[in-house]
């Protein structure tokens, strides 16, 4: 069976015959031996080369780590692929800035409607006793921004730049 796999945004076509440990990625043939070790950890031999790989849930896909590198992987369901439902449109232009952890907004550095440059400060958040400045990921206009003094939980929107 062939699977479509999105890895760090790139699509790869993967086939494997597990009985013979023969895999193919975009046509390249690889002898692949994957063994589970601990929960969420695997030992992988690719043509004899050893990899230690860990897997964690990451949205609707997986976060994989090996050799100090991170990979975000999503596996398309072959059936839904056939139904042509695989494409999730990447957001372009409008950027949401999400709180990666609980914290408190201690100072605003930009107001809604204000033009900001890439890297310009939007607000200062205090989390785990550290103050961190949140900067704009793009040049554009601030659409929305959290309140000063507001306590935010992980995943909450701190600001939107369009």
């Amino acid at each position: 069976m062939t699977y479509e796999i999105l890895i760090n945004g790139t699509k790869r076509s993967v086939a494997w015959d597990s009985a013979s440990m023969a895999a193919s990625i975009d046509g390249r043939k690889i002898h692949a031996d994957v063994a589970a070790t601990s929960s969420g950890a695997y030992s992988v031999l690719l043509d004899g080369r050893v990899f230690e790989v860990t897997v964690e849930k990451d949205g609707d896909g997986w976060l994989l780590r090996t050799e100090g590198r991170e990979f975000h992987v999503r596996i398309a369901d072959p059936r839904s692929l056939r139904r042509g439902r695989d494409g999730s449109v990447e957001m372009e232009g409008r950027q949401q800035i999400i709180a990666p952890m609980p914290g408190k907004i201690v100072r605003l550095l930009a107001a809604p409607g204000q033009k900001v440059e890439l890297g310009q400060g939007l607000l200062v958040i205090e989390a785990m006793k550290m103050q961190n400045e949140i900067r704009s990921p793009k040049s554009g206009t601030v659409e929305r921004v959290a309140r000063e003094g507001q306590t935010v939980t992980a995943g909450e929107i701190l600001a939107v730049v369009v």
């Binding site: 494997w16 895999a23 031996d33 589970a36 690719l46 964690e56 100090g68 590198r69 785990m128």
Partner: protein, 506 residues
């Protein structure tokens, strides 16, 4: 010797102290906040008592509750660790009033050296060289602007009560002063309840080199070599090593004797650290004194063979130091990296969460001082330091390659850590040549982070491994879900999976 020691701390340092107690036959008594019942420092203790809600102001910073537990459990001594109340003379005084030995300097010595401005005044009297600046707290922004103009930019704003880079701001030019002043004062107020700041001239590419000192109550004070702590991110130490790659015996003696002289002036006992900046010409300038055990004390332990925590306990019990300055021999090289629950790819944001799985390094020359375990939840309440990984080698090169090997063995899922960044640092040619200074990492960081993402021939294979593992993992889960909710143990082999699949098909 003491029978029971109250450890007024949490995390890896509380674990470290508990281990020293165990080895001395002393019962380690832990305290824990509501967030820490299942923390490692509680599990490693002999006794443990709750002291309040998760916020440290309601638990680890409450002297009254600590004294309460000490009395209830019958503790005859208290070790403050680092952070929290470690440099607060009120805790040392409360101990004295309750007849409990405080494992650290006297409250008076702590006051004489703990405040940066007081320490600078003392250092001036002791003839220890200092960075040009103003030792007294500055009243208002306008004064800061005037003084900075006189010293010449760049200048450094620093919290009087500070430590760990909190309340510290580099000010490159006059127009940055208002924002920097506001940030430094507010951060200092937040972190220490004391918003006072002072100013000093900023050296160009200084190294941070500190001297470990240790004094008993019989007038003996020794220095135990130095630690180079120049690899810092935003003034926070990230990697520490001993000896310094630029150290010479005569410089070590000069710095060591200056540190001991300062300690002697202050009537200092127990362990302490005198921090210096060292410039290109190997001039050294007094920075500040930390009147407690340092996070990075293990590198000193590994090159001297001494156990600093046990020695702290012994001298606090009134014993004389069991060796003289001439007996201190530095052997080999040790390097430490600080493992944090933070995400280097996302501006080093703290990454709390539950540790799902964990693989820790071992083998020759490796030491791991941790405060976590598999299944532990890193909370948002406290400093996100997971632990410290330290390597010893007969040479600096061996220590670096060992630490690199050990970092590569370290793996953790469920939270993000800064471990992969250390691989980049330890492989960096400038780091390997020892060409580091306090801003080195801040300047080098974009390159190091980019190196970590670079695609090379080996990365194609890493990507392949990720793809096939994701597929294997997903298919395994699908199959398990298929099996109607039954819990399947992880399969040991692709081949076995394949056999099962063929059976399913057949």
């Amino acid at each position: 010797m003491f029978k029971k020691i109250l450890i007024a701390n949490r995390g890896e340092i509380a674990v470290r102290i508990a281990r020293a107690c165990r080895e001395m036959g002393i019962v380690p008594v832990a305290v824990f906040s509501d967030a820490d019942r299942a923390s490692l420092h509680v599990r490693m203790a002999g006794q443990a008592y709750p002291i309040g809600a998760a916020p440290s102001r309601e638990s680890y910073l409450r002297i009254d509750k600590l004294m309460d537990v000490a009395r209830r459990a019958g503790c005859d001594a208290l070790h403050p660790g680092y952070g929290f109340l470690a440099e607060n003379p009120d805790l040392a005084r409360a101990c004295a009033e309750n007849g409990i030995a405080f494992i650290g300097p006297s409250p008076d010595a702590m006051e004489r050296l703990g405040s940066k401005t007081a320490a600078r005044q003392l250092a001036a009297r002791a003839g220890v060289p200092m960075v040009p600046g103003v030792a007294d707290p500055i009243e208002k922004l306008q004064d800061a602007e005037r003084i900075a103009q006189g010293l010449g930019y760049p200048v450094l704003l620093k919290a009087v009560a500070g430590g760990g880079g909190k309340g510290m701001r580099l000010v490159a030019a006059a127009q940055q002063m208002p924002a920097a002043w506001r940030d430094a004062v507010s951060e200092a107020l937040n972190a220490f309840g004391d918003g006072r700041v002072y100013l000093e001239r900023y050296l160009d590419r200084p190294r941070h080199i500190e001297i470990q000192i240790l004094g008993d109550r019989h007038g003996h004070i020794v220095y135990l070599g130095e630690r180079e702590c120049s690899v810092q991110r935003r003034h926070q130490k990230v990697i520490e090593e001993s000896p310094s790659p630029v150290m010479k015996p005569e410089l070590r003696r000069a710095m060591g004797e200056a540190a001991v002289q300062l300690a002697r002036e202050a009537g200092y006992t127990n362990a302490g650290t005198v921090e210096f900046l060292v410039d290109d010409a190997r001039n050294f300038y007094f920075l500040e004194v930390n009147t407690r055990l340092q996070v990075e004390h293990p590198v000193t332990e590994m090159v001297t063979g001494l156990d600093l925590v046990k020695l702290q306990i012994r001298v606090a019990a009134g014993k004389a130091l069991p060796f003289a300055q001439g007996d201190v021999v530095l052997s080999g090289h040790a390097i430490e990296c600080r493992l944090y629950a933070e995400d280097p790819a996302n501006n080093f944001f703290p990454s709390p969460g539950t540790i799902l799985s964990r693989r820790v390094p071992g083998g020759p020359g490796i030491r791991l001082d941790e405060g976590v375990y598999e299944g532990f939840t890193v909370s948002t309440e406290y400093d996100p330091l997971l632990g410290k990984l330290i390597a010893w080698g007969s040479t600096r090169d061996e220590a670096i390659t060992r630490l690199e090997r050990a970092v590569a063995e370290y793996s953790i899922t469920g939270i993000k850590t800064n471990a992969a960044l250390f691989l980049e640092i330890l492989r960096d040619p400038q780091f390997i040549r020892g060409e580091i200074y306090t801003r080195w990492l801040d300047e080098r960081l974009p390159l190091l982070l980019a190196n970590g993402k670079k695609t090379g021939a080996s990365d194609v294979s890493a990507e392949d491994a990720a793809i096939l593992t994701a597929l294997f993992h997903q298919l395994g889960l699908n199959r398990a879900a298929h099996a109607n909710g039954a819990h399947r143990e992880s399969e040991s082999r692709w081949k076995r999976e394949a056999r099962l699949e063929q059976v399913d098909r057949g």
